[in-house]
Structure formats: C-alpha cells, structure tokens
C-alpha cells in the first residue's frame, strides 16, 4: 500500500505491507536510525518518535496507519545544531551508552512544549516508560529541569 509521510520535514512516498511496523520502516526503508529496537512491546520507550507532535511508540504503530502524517525524530530536532536540551544532556552527563537518549530527548521535548515549567514530579511522569540502564535517571531529570530554567544552573 502506498503511504505518504513526512519524516523530519522530508516527504516520503513508500510502498508498505499492512503488517510492516513503523519502527522497522523508519529504520530499514527511510534510514532513520535514532528510534531503537528495544522491547518491541511498548514498555521500554526506546522506539519513541513524535507523530504529529505527540510521542508514540513506533513499535506499536503500523506503517499504513501514518499515511498523511508528520514524523519527527531526534535527527529532525537537531538538523542544524543541537537543541538547548541536547546540550544540557551533554553538560549533565545525562547519557552513557546513548541507546535511550533519542527517545528521552523527544519525550522531554514534548513535555517542555506542553509545560515550560515542569516540577521534578512532572519530569519523572513524562519520562516514565523510557528505560535507561546506565544513568540512574538523576542526570537526565537534572538536564530537563535545567532546560526548563532556560539553561541556568
């Protein structure tokens, strides 16, 4: 089936089978590798993308479902330069292996778009379901809170 989708601002017309999962199509057909293959059942969050501005688990979406929609991945939010949030991830050592980082950056971006002054609890809630096995989450939460403060310590 022919699907038209905008990925990070670029229009793609691709032929997919109904059983093709969006995550696999993004990675293997479109070549966007930041959404990761983790649990493949919606638990770990590593396949998170923004679909029409909202985070979704791309492992639980069929490619045929997103015809006419717009997808943003971490490649799309840092096309020209890193976002302030990404820079704060760097300065806070908020990732180690980096596997979870694209998804967490997207989840935090969605949070800050909807709620520019989140509490620590809001950040924890927004990032819940994005598993990180390296950091213990504290530097991630600090980076997001720092971004909410406009980068101030």
């Amino acid at each position: 089936m022919e699907v038209t989708v905008k990925v990070n601002g670029e229009r793609w017309d691709i032929d997919v089978a109904p059983a093709d999962v969006l995550l696999d199509v993004l990675r293997e057909r479109i070549g966007v590798k930041s959404p990761k293959i983790g649990c493949e059942r919606g638990d770990c969050g590593s396949c998170t993308i923004l679909l029409d501005g909202k985070t979704v688990r791309s492992c639980l979406v069929l490619a045929v479902e997103v015809d006419g929609q717009e997808i943003t991945t971490v490649e799309g939010i840092s096309y020209e330069s890193l976002s302030q949030l990404q820079n704060l991830f760097l300065s806070n050592n908020a990732f180690q292996c980096g596997f979870c980082a694209p998804a967490i950056v997207l989840s935090a971006t969605e949070l800050l778009d909807n709620n520019p002054n989140p509490t620590r609890h809001d950040v924890q809630e927004a990032l819940a379901g994005n598993l990180c096995r390296c950091t213990g989450y504290e530097p991630i939460i600090e980076a997001v809170l720092a971004a909410a403060r406009g980068g101030a310590k």
């Binding site: 999962v21 919606g42 909202k54 979704v56 979406v61 069929l62 479902e65 924890q124 379901g129 994005n130």
Partner: protein, 294 residues
C-alpha cells in the same frame, strides 16, 4: 521481530461502512484504534486476523462533551485526551486520575479508553472506574445501533458483550455531583499494569459504587459491599465491616506479578483508604485527585 502473518488493511470513513466490512469477515477481522494492544498481540502471534479495520479515519469519534449531567466520550478518546480535558477535570476528575496511572505518555497519546475496555484484560484500568458510574456503551453494527449497560459489558476473561461486526461509537456516563477514587497497586509509581485496583464512586446520601480490577477474570462491582455501605454514614466500624468482606468477594490469582494473598491484603488496604477519600472528595475536601493513596 516482525509480524509473521500478512493481513489486509482497510480504513473506512464511516462507522456504518466499518461495520459492513466487519460483517463480511466473520471471526477473522480485528478493529484497530490506538493499536497499543492489537499491534503487540499481532507481533506475539496472539491474534492472527485476515483483516484489520482501522477506525481512526472516522470523524466524530474524538468528542468529549457534556449535556446536562451526561458526559459523552467518543471511542477514539485517548487517555491523554482525558488528562487534558477541562470537561473531564471539572465533571469527572476520577477519569483523569485513572488515566494518569495508565502506562506512559507515549502509550497514553495513542491508547483509547474504549480500546481498553474492548481488550478487557483483567487489569484494564478503565474497567473499575467506568463501573462506578452509570455508563452506557453505544455500538454500531451491520444490523444497526444498540446500547449496553457497562454492568453487562464485561463477560469474562478478555470477553465483552460486543459482537464481531460491532464497533463502539461512544460512551455516555452519568456525572452528577460525586466523589471518586482509583487506587492501583503497581510495582513502582510511574508505569505498570495493575496488580490489583479498586475504583470507588461516592454519591450523595451515602451511596457507594465499589469495583475491583485485576483480582478476577474481569473487572466487577461488589454488590455485597455496596449494599452494606448504603445509606449509612461512613465510620471506622462500617469500613472495618466491609473490609472484612473483601477476601470473599475477590478471586485473585498467584502470578509473576503478585501472589493472591498479597493482592487480597492490598485490596483491603485500598478499600480502607479509598472509601473515606471518595466521601471527602464528594464533600469538596479530601486528597487532591491524582494523589496516590498507596
């Protein structure tokens, strides 16, 4: 891991058309809304339909509106929609309290509440809450429209009263002044399925609805506990009386997430804490909605 079995995909633009398509594929078609259950099941080969009917192109199923004391919720309303709705926060904040306990934002942005009760797993969070209200499930089938009382909706383990060619169009719920609580046992705050859950709605005149989730094959109301509470001011002795009934009312199992004994004990605690909170919220006090009681 890819989805092993091929299937056909259709995206009708009216609910009647969707019902006709389903009627033409008896027993071999599945309805797709948010997909957070269905796509996981397809991946697991737990379901293997010949046809998937995506209802997301059907307009008018996203509605959240109020007419008098009747709340109207379209079948494509997601858990995030509930959390972000002013109408829900004003008239049925219990729905938002429940929705905030469902999985993660990335799931809540996609998963629909109606999909939750159509999947009808024992731990479905919407079950105990919708049972607390006078909720009616409205369906469109190839033979026309019908309505089902939520008390007749859950038939058994992952089984509902919906027939294969029917699609839920919307729910209507009575939302007169009330106080509610949804208490859910999870391994940690943040994201988990319910190991046990209690939904309570308190109405004026010491009327209570008490429903349990994840401690029987389906979510259910306890008539015995509700009758014992009816018309009597809540006090410690009355709470103790109904808490003592919990063990006989529920049918929990031992599984990887909790033992039956633990589920039973925690249901007692959740009822003990939930009842006064529901009463106090009815009276405009009590813990703010969203406060975790366990």
């Amino acid at each position: 891991m890819v989805i092993a079995k091929e299937f056909e995909y259709q995206r009708p633009s009216t609910i009647e058309e969707a019902a006709q398509i389903l009627a033409g594929h008896p027993g071999s078609a599945r309805v797709l809304a948010g997909g957070t259950d269905l796509v996981a099941w397809l991946r697991d080969d737990a379901v293997a339909p010949d046809l998937v009917v995506d209802i997301k192109a059907i307009p008018d199923l996203h509605d959240i509106s109020l007419e008098g004391d009747i709340l109207h919720l379209g079948s494509l309303v997601t858990f995030s929609d509930l959390i972000n709705s002013d109408i829900v926060h004003e008239r049925a904040p219990l729905l938002a309290e429940m929705a905030e306990t469902v999985a993660s934002t990335g799931i809540r942005n996609r998963a629909t509440m109606v999909g939750n009760i159509c999947s009808a797993v024992p731990s479905c969070d919407a079950g105990p809450v919708l049972l607390g209200y006078d909720t009616t499930v409205h369906l469109i089938g190839s033979a026309g429209a019908r309505s089902i009382d939520i008390n007749d909706w859950f038939v058994g383990l992952r089984e509902t009263a919906r027939t294969g060619d029917e699609i839920v169009s919307h729910l209507t719920m009575q939302v007169p002044p009330h106080g509610g609580v949804y208490v859910k046992l999870m391994r940690y705050a943040g994201e988990d399925l319910a190991q046990a859950a209690v939904g309570i709605v308190a109405y004026p005149g010491d009327q209570y609805r008490v429903a349990f989730g994840a401690v029987a094959p389906k979510p259910f109301r306890s008539a015995r506990i509700e009758n014992a509470l009816q018309g009597k001011p809540l006090d410690e002795a009355l709470i103790a009386e109904v808490v003592a009934m919990v063990a006989d009312e529920i049918r929990p199992i031992d599984d990887i997430r909790a033992t039956a004994a633990y589920r039973t004990r925690i249901c007692e605690v959740m009822l003990e804490r939930g009842l006064p909170a529901a009463r106090d919220r009815l009276n405009g006090s009590g813990p703010a909605y969203g406060t975790r009681l366990i």
